[in-house]
């Protein structure tokens, strides 16, 4: 039965940083959501081994940590791609066809919202309003805003970033 034991693989600097975040909240289980926020800010996502570590530091079951991570849409266990794509589905963008834009990205990248492609280049997400309603429909790629989008334009945008690789 001893052989069932697994060593959790984590870079030492990641481990240190997560411990530092937990410590900064006094390792208080009531601060779980804040700890998760800061950890995701730092890592971009919340892999299983990081949740294990947070559970250990905050003296709570891993299942409870995972319960919170899986409850909130904001938290993700999937690492973001090098170029994260976010399509705005806010009201203004939505009425101007944002759903079609999202579909085009899905088709072009071969992934669904919340997923990252195999090579870790692109990830896809939807968000609510970036404050650029005048440019609706809008998408963000690696932080850059693309406005007045039409489904046909998606292919070229993706191509542009693919060529940078």
């Amino acid at each position: 039965m001893d052989n069932k034991k697994i060593i959790i693989k984590m870079k030492p600097e990641v481990r240190e940083k997560v411990i530092e975040i937990c410590d900064s909240f006094g390792n208080n289980p009531g601060e779980l959501i804040n700890v998760l926020h800061q950890t995701q800010d730092f890592l971009g996502y919340l892999p299983a081994e990081v949740q294990e570590l947070i559970a250990e530091r905050l003296h709570m079951p891993t299942a409870k940590v995972y319960g919170v991570v899986s409850f909130y849409a904001f938290f993700t266990m999937t690492p973001k791609g090098k170029y994260p794509v976010s399509v705005c589905l806010g009201t203004a963008c939505y009425v101007r066809g944002a759903e079609k834009i999202l579909e085009s990205f899905e088709k072009e990248l071969g992934i669904k919202p919340g997923e990252t492609d195999e090579n870790g280049v692109f990830s896809l997400a939807s968000l609510r309003c970036v404050g650029a309603c005048g440019l609706a429909p809008v998408a963000l790629v690696d932080g850059k805003v693309f406005g007045r989008l039409a489904p046909a334009m998606v292919k070229d945008i993706v191509k542009e970033y693919r060529e940078m690789e």
Partner: protein, 595 residues
């Protein structure tokens, strides 16, 4: 105490401040239906998330309906528990719950014993506007572990299991995860129970109102073994089974049904009907000797001797310390559980005696427990891959077998256990409840240690249902400090003290289930009726008093096996057959995100 006057269903009532509407109504004979609500007051179990909304009532002046289980009574409150508005709301809530629940009641393990089914009957639900092709239903993978089946399609999110796993047991295997339709109670990363800290105590199963959590059923395999002419079947029955199985046949809770139980097992066709009480006596010889050995060394000045000695009869408790306190695994007695000891002796000593090959013997145990199902699969309890106990079935499973075989349990004439593994003492039967193992050990250790007869056989100070208890026993001048915990959360408290060097106990008894085996997860379902557990508890001590011999070391058949076969307690042969070892299983979480 501050009292509050209020009106419920046009009747005035006075209750202490802090009483919920549900409790106040119950006191007046008004039975407000509940589903998620669950309490075992004398055992400290409370699940009141106020989540299911079945118990809503109308409170005058309040805009929305109030959940009775979590709403406290207020002065001059006017409550209606059965207005049209309330009944309609309850029906809708029930229809919505049922709309996301498989309607396969006829094939469900909980058919006839399901609280949701009872509600559907009570409200006469005939059709459901929320069921149809346009309505979504959640769907999860069925999961089978050595003890527990998780069919989460049937989960109603009452979260009783989560309360037991986290608050009562502090195991932390289960949590609510996800949200909306995917919401369910599951493990970290939705992994298999085997890859979680689950101890298989099964308290989640014991409280599940529906068929989402049930036990792995071995009744078919046991029947096949019984009818196989090439197999010799040997069955053992745990102490707590005899004070509970009668309930399955309409007998009063607390009925001692040992004779009928034995007769039923014989009628089922087992070749040899034996008693785990016999091996409980054997356990005392081994564990008691181990306790005396460690104590003697300690008194001689050896400060490295592992103390306190912890009992090791309860397999869920063993799983718990292996997962959560592996650094203390040198403390528990190395004695196998009575089930384990019985299996080892049945397939060695007894098999030799009747000239039966190990492979031709099928050893079955009837246990109040689901963790025992896991225990029989442990590699240390096998010889060349052949387990000492082939199948462990619960009290409920045995009741099903008896019903299937057309045996009228209540009218069976009492029968006796077979010889030689059927003779037992009062010390053995009290293994079935919290405090019993240590009392049995003290009865024997006292007489062996002091070589004097016990002045008094009943150790009342070790009995009770409080979660953590302690007592100091005067062993002819030696003050023996004893700790007792039942429920793993209570066990954790004692273990934390040991870790912190704050424990002055010499011996600690731990049972995973609240109340001990009498409230094991394999027992007839009590549906939150704590009186049933109390009745079983009293029956255990009554059964002890009725035994002609009440000390394990006076069991003639135990004395005989040491003379004939085993030699000395804790001797070479005993170590080979009756002792085991424990593992560090702290980080067994295997993450397979492809599942």
């Amino acid at each position: 105490m501050d009292m509050i006057k209020l009106t419920i269903d046009n009747r005035e009532v006075e209750v202490p401040k802090g009483t919920t509407i549900l409790k106040a109504a119950q006191g007046m004979g008004i039975d407000i239906p509940t589903l998620c609500h669950f309490e075992l007051n004398n055992l400290g179990v409370h699940n009141k998330p106020g989540g299911c909304r079945i118990c809503v009532v109308e409170v005058a002046g309040r805009r929305n309906l109030a959940p009775a289980c979590v709403t406290e009574c207020m002065p001059d409150m006017v409550v209606r528990t059965n207005s049209m508005r309330v009944i309609n709301a309850r029906r809708t809530v029930l229809e919505l719950i049922l709309s996301d629940h498989p309607a396969d009641c006829l094939q469900c393990a909980k058919n006839g014993n399901c609280e949701l089914q009872d509600l559907a009957v009570r409200f006469g639900i005939r059709k459901n506007p929320f069921i149809g092709p346009e309505h979504e239903q959640s769907s999860y993978q069925l999961e089978v572990s050595p003890s527990i089946i998780r069919d989460m399609n049937k989960c109603v999110m009452c979260r009783r299991c989560e309360t037991m796993c986290n608050d009562m047991q502090t195991v932390g295997a289960l949590s609510a995860i996800e949200r909306g339709f995917p919401a369910v109670v599951s493990t970290a990363f939705n992994q298999h129970l085997d890859h979680s800290p689950c101890t298989f105590c099964g308290q989640c199963v014991a409280v599940c109102p529906v068929g989402a959590l049930t036990e792995v059923d071995h009744t078919g395999a046991v029947l096949r073994a019984i009818v196989d002419p090439k197999k010799t079947t040997v069955v053992q029955v745990a102490p707590a089974v005899r004070v509970a199985i009668g309930e399955e046949f309409g007998m009063e809770p607390g009925t001692i049904a040992t004779g009928k139980l034995t007769a039923a097992l014989k009628a089922l066709g087992f070749d040899y009907v034996f008693d785990t009480d016999w091996s409980a006596d054997l356990t005392i010889m081994e564990e008691g000797t181990e306790l005396i050995g460690r104590l003697t060394k300690f008194l001689e000045g050896d400060k490295n001797v592992p103390l306190p000695i912890l009992t090791s009869c309860c397999p869920a408790w063993v799983n718990f310390f292996e997962h959560q306190f592996p650094e203390l695994r040198h403390l528990p007695s190395t004695a196998k559980s009575p089930q384990g000891m019985f299996g080892a002796i049945a397939k060695s000593y007894f098999a030799e005696k009747i000239n039966c090959k190990r492979e031709d013997m099928i050893s079955v145990s009837v246990m109040p427990c689901l963790a025992k199902k896991y225990e029989v699969g442990r590699d240390e309890l096998k010889v060349n891959g052949n387990p000492d106990v082939d199948y462990s079935i619960s009290t409920r499973e045995l009741a099903r077998l008896i019903k299937m075989a057309n045996i009228d349990f209540k009218s069976l004439p009492d029968a006796e256990f077979d010889s030689p593994l059927g003779e037992s003492t009062g010390a053995a039967v009290i293994f079935g409840t919290t405090g019993g193992v240590i009392e049995a050990a003290v009865r024997t250790a006292y007489e062996i240690f002091t070589k004097k007869p016990l002045p008094k056989i009943d150790f009342e100070e070790l009995r009770g249902l409080e979660g953590v208890r302690s007592a100091t026993i005067d062993v002819d001048g030696l003050k023996l400090n004893i700790g007792i915990a039942h429920g793993l959360g209570n066990a954790r408290k004692l273990l934390e003290d040991i870790k912190a060097g704050k424990s002055n106990f010499h011996a600690i008894e731990i049972m995973a289930c609240p109340g001990g085996c009498i409230d094991g997860a394999g027992q007839p379902l009590h549906h939150g009726n704590a009186d049933i557990i109390k009745a079983r508890w009293e029956a255990i001590y009554r059964a002890d008093r009725e035994m002609p011999i009440r000390k394990s070391h006076e069991n003639p058949s135990i004395q005989a096996i040491y003379k004939e076969y085993l030699g000395e307690p804790c001797g070479h042969k005993s170590h080979e057959l009756l002792h085991t070892h424990y593992f560090d299983r702290q980080t067994t979480v295997e993450v397979d995100l492809n599942k």
